[in-house]
Symmetry: C2
Subunit: 160 residues, 2 copies
């Protein structure tokens, strides 16, 4: 049961495809349905696995060819935490200003928003003559709660 935001995001993406005169195929639909039906962050490999549950004919190549379309549309956010693979965030359209912390042990990704940090980043970048494109706050260490419970209640806490 996708949230209203997800349904809207999916619609936007279909419009994006249409605008580029790209076709709707069974494989693409399986991938898109998957992406806009989850709140979770995922990797290319996970997306492949999930999409294949909907349509066994989905190939790894198609997943990799569809991901750039998703990020180009602005509805999915690509994240690189210095691991071997990239993560993708399907919540970007709904919360475009959030940051991420990834736990080195369990690889859980926690979202948070901080106006202060964002303001400071912009300020400093401007002083340095940069226009910011991406930012990554990387925390290494352990998430106590996740270690104990396997789940973090503070997920997506707001830190203004």
């Amino acid at each position: 049961m996708p949230s209203p935001g997800k349904v809207a995001a999916k619609e936007k993406f279909l419009a994006f495809l249409e605008g580029k005169s790209l076709r709707m195929t069974a494989q693409r639909m399986a991938i898109i349905d998957t992406v806009f039906n989850t709140e979770e962050h995922f990797t290319a490999e996970q997306l492949l696995e999930w999409a294949r549950q909907k349509d066994k004919s989905v190939s790894r190549a198609t997943v990799y060819r569809t991901l750039p379309l998703l990020t180009e549309s602005g509805l999915v956010h690509e994240m690189d935490f210095g691991k071997d693979y990239k993560f993708y965030d399907p919540n970007y359209a709904e919360h475009p200003h959030h940051n991420h912390i990834i736990c080195n042990d369990c690889e859980k990704i926690v979202e948070f928003e901080s106006e202060k940090i964002e303001r400071l980043e912009s300020e400093i970048s401007q002083k340095l003559g940069f226009s910011v494109k991406t930012q990554r706050l990387q925390i290494t260490g352990a998430c106590e709660q996740m270690k104990k419970s396997g789940n973090c209640k503070n997920r997506a806490i707001q830190c203004k």
Copy 2:
């Protein structure tokens, strides 16, 4: 002519090797000399090239086997900006609290320090239940000045 800080860093690294009962070889010395004689950030490939100017027998494998020792010692900092390759920062011992911003166009890396951001990061991480070991903020963007002049005068500006 290495700065006093670099000379000290090299000494520390030699002590680090000694402490682990690791040997000093001509190849390692060439690599170490290179690393602690530059202020610049570099990639594995660049380090190989530079080290080979000192000792032609240095192989790519040895560079890749030495880099983990350098980062493990805490004297060199590994950075991943989402490019295909990693960057290494030899200035970490002298300025352990700095962040980086990299230009997507020219790949120049600028260092900056910000107590405020660091404080906010600690605060937020704690709220999220993380026990922080290290934290780093990595920003990518476009550098207007570098685009125009090929050089950024604001390099290493202080932003308290």
